[in-house]
Symmetry: C2
Subunit: 433 residues, 2 copies
């Protein structure tokens, strides 16, 4: 069984991006005692901060949403890869952690997480060997992964042959869409895989059906929603057919889908499915906890449009993740260059969103940037910001950037600061990418 | 002065992406004794490997190129952020290391590098404080950074006021292009900044002129080269004007430009400049050591076109960086999904380039992938590969991907494996991002 680690043992020093140069190394758990404040320039920039009040709010919102629906969540840990946030999510009722890779399973195990959904195929000698080692060592390890091919089932079965496992490899048949990512494209191939899984022997157990609807795109949001619903119907048909052929192992059947955009549709469709067996409806949003300032903000507005009744849960999700940088150059009247680049902040979905500015020693608190401040490009270590000619920004000013797609900002930091509303650092999370 | 660290102390364990799960933690310096082999599936995938023979070749090629020209190099460390590679570059004659951020300066100092060019503005309380602390502690620390505004010069001068430094802050005036990144756009503003620098007192010393031509783009490669030449002329004019006004501090004048695309033009133009003072022509390529399989391959072909005489140096730069992944799904006849995503490999310049495939236990060695294998998309943890219907790829096969833009692959790994031509791991480099 994996060695256990405590992420708060992590030594902060100037070698870690975001930590002031020259400080004597100290353990992450001590950070709150330093009372470092972003606006007092105690931190070097760029720095990634999580606003505690927004994280708390989003956490409560999702708990309330799930409470209404009766669904469970296995938050996708790949978003943050922060065991401190995993712990919080599990303490607040998450059924399991979801991850995307064997290394991410390894991190979950190292911090003692007992139930893990690898929402992906488990392939390759080392990854399979590692998971089987864990299952051989710990009868309490409840592990799920996806299969979408007979070849994949056979590889797992072959690796498990001759090994004594104290817990099985739980399999979910993955359904997919034509032109999409992984997953069986039709019922016949899904059933073929399911039959192989059911016949593979006691080390493998078919436990449910899974899909990822997050990449489905229609021409309009209505068309997208309709396609997502059709995909969820397809997943339900796979489950019905597996049940009809008695392919599932004993125990609850897991029906899982749901990234961070359409989990309302997932909960609606799967909760209505009557398989006549105990069923766990399992959503997997990873991004709800920090939300964002662009892509998921748009998706969430659509979700609110589909579900006006969620208004009773109060204010919706809030962006919790900001990356702060300095203005380092004002080389042209309508241009500012800031000390943040594609190595510090997401650029895969949208460009970062300039939101606030602050002049150390002059402003009492951060000010909203007026209209017309737009990131028009990122280099590795620079942001090109187009600004109005009357922009207040000067060299040495601080600017906050909201992100689009939190996953690809988290993975650019080994440590993110949790701050209160006055931007004082109260704790920190270490990431494992 | 910063505490010194040895990057080879780094503990490898399953928490680090690329290391097999469950191995007992061990120091990076011991990796060669393991004799791990990629093709024997001793490594989990994805894994990033550096082919030693190609790195060695590229290292020799650049030394030979510089030997022909008489120019110096301060390789841009931001590319690899790998002190093991920095050490090699310095031992093989590099004049200094170049970096892009204060955190990168901190890493250089922690491994004992004495001469550092911050090819960027130094802004922000912590970054400035750190550099001044280092200069106050170590008279042998030779530090250079860029200025492109009077405001920036004033911030540095103000921070230095009242401090006793054992070594000065050496400044390079940055010239830029309209619509470009940082840098003074015209001679008048450059001279204004230079005068402020020269008048700022003994802590600041104006030592040269710098520019970055790497973002200049014309409609054709000839037009791009012409624009780069015009920009280099502009930088030379700044130097001439500063010299005319006697603004430079004593000592050699540094003329520096050169990313990894146009360093031949930089060397040509600056070597021809006759300032009548000792001059250091300083190029800064960061990418030559690993080269790549797309963007810099194209740039290098253009360089070879401009400089047929470089043929006498033998074979040109070779791609040394590969990321290997498994085929995890073959969901459609012309589609393969591989276990590598935008968190593992560059996607900012071009999509990764599928190059080789290998079937463990079946192939004697990696085979070239036939035509028609193309990465058409990356998600966080997946590659979408379009393949010919007759592609040999099956679930469980291994595929190597060449990269475009090494910087943005290095920053996705804490450790990259150095391998021999049989893909046995002989050593490893730790990165600091």
């Amino acid at each position: 069984m994996s060695e256990r680690i405590d992420p708060d043992d992590f030594l902060l020093s100037g070698l870690v991006k975001g930590v002031p140069g020259g400080v004597a190394p100290f353990e992450l758990r001590e950070i709150g005692t330093r009372r470092w404040n972003l606006l007092r320039e105690d931190l070097p920039l760029p720095a990634a901060v999580l606003k505690s009040s927004a994280v708390d709010h989003n956490d409560r919102w999702m708990q309330a949403f799930l409470g209404l629906s009766g669904a469970m969540i296995a938050p996708h840990g790949k978003t943050t890869m922060s065991p401190a946030l995993f712990r919080r999510q599990l303490e607040h009722g998450a059924w399991a952690m979801t991850v995307a890779t064997a290394q991410q399973v390894q991190v979950c195990r190292a911090v003692g997480i007992g139930r893990v959904v690898l929402a992906n195929q488990l392939v390759g000698r080392q990854a399979i060997r590692y998971v089987l080692d864990e299952l051989a060592a710990d009868e309490k390890f409840e592990f799920y992964c996806l299969v979408d091919s007979v070849a994949g089932v056979k590889q797992l079965a072959e690796a498990a042959r001759g090994r004594t496992l104290r817990a099985p490899v739980n399999l979910l048949i993955e359904g997919g869409t034509m032109g999409g990512r992984t997953g069986c494209r039709d019922l016949a191939s899904a059933l073929e895989v399911a039959r192989a899984a059911a016949a593979a022997g006691p080390a493998l157990r078919l436990r449910g059906v899974e899909g990822f609807e997050g990449l489905i795109q229609g021409k309009t949001s209505e068309e997208t929603a309709a396609r997502v619903r059709a995909f969820l119907d397809f997943l339900a048909r796979i489950a019905e057919a597996c049940l009809h052929e008695n392919l599932f192992a004993p125990g609850p059947i897991v029906l899982s889908a749901g990234g961070s955009a359409f989990y309302d549709l997932v909960v609606e469709r799967f909760s209505a499915e009557k398989l006549g067996r105990e069923t766990i409806v399992l959503t997997r949003s990873g991004c709800y906890l920090t939300h964002d300032s662009a892509m998921y903000r748009r998706f969430f507005a659509e979700l609110q449009g589909r579900r006006p009744e969620l208004g009773k849960l109060g204010e919706g999700l809030l962006p919790a993740l900001e990356v702060w940088a300095y203005v380092q150059s004002r080389p042209e009247p309508t241009k500012a260059i800031c000390t943040v680049g594609r190595r510090d902040i997401s650029s895969d979905a949208d460009m970062p969103v300039p939101e606030l500015w602050y002049r150390p020693g002059a402003n009492a608190k951060p000010q909203a940037l007026g209209p017309g401040h737009t990131v028009t490009g990122l280099n590795d270590q620079h942001a090109h910001v187009t600004v109005p000619a009357e922009s207040p920004l000067r060299v040495g000013d601080m600017v906050s950037f909201g992100v689009s797609h939190p996953c690809t900002t988290f993975d650019k930091w080994q440590v993110l600061w949790l701050v209160d509303d006055a931007y004082t650092v109260t704790s920190a999370v270490r990431t494992f990418f």
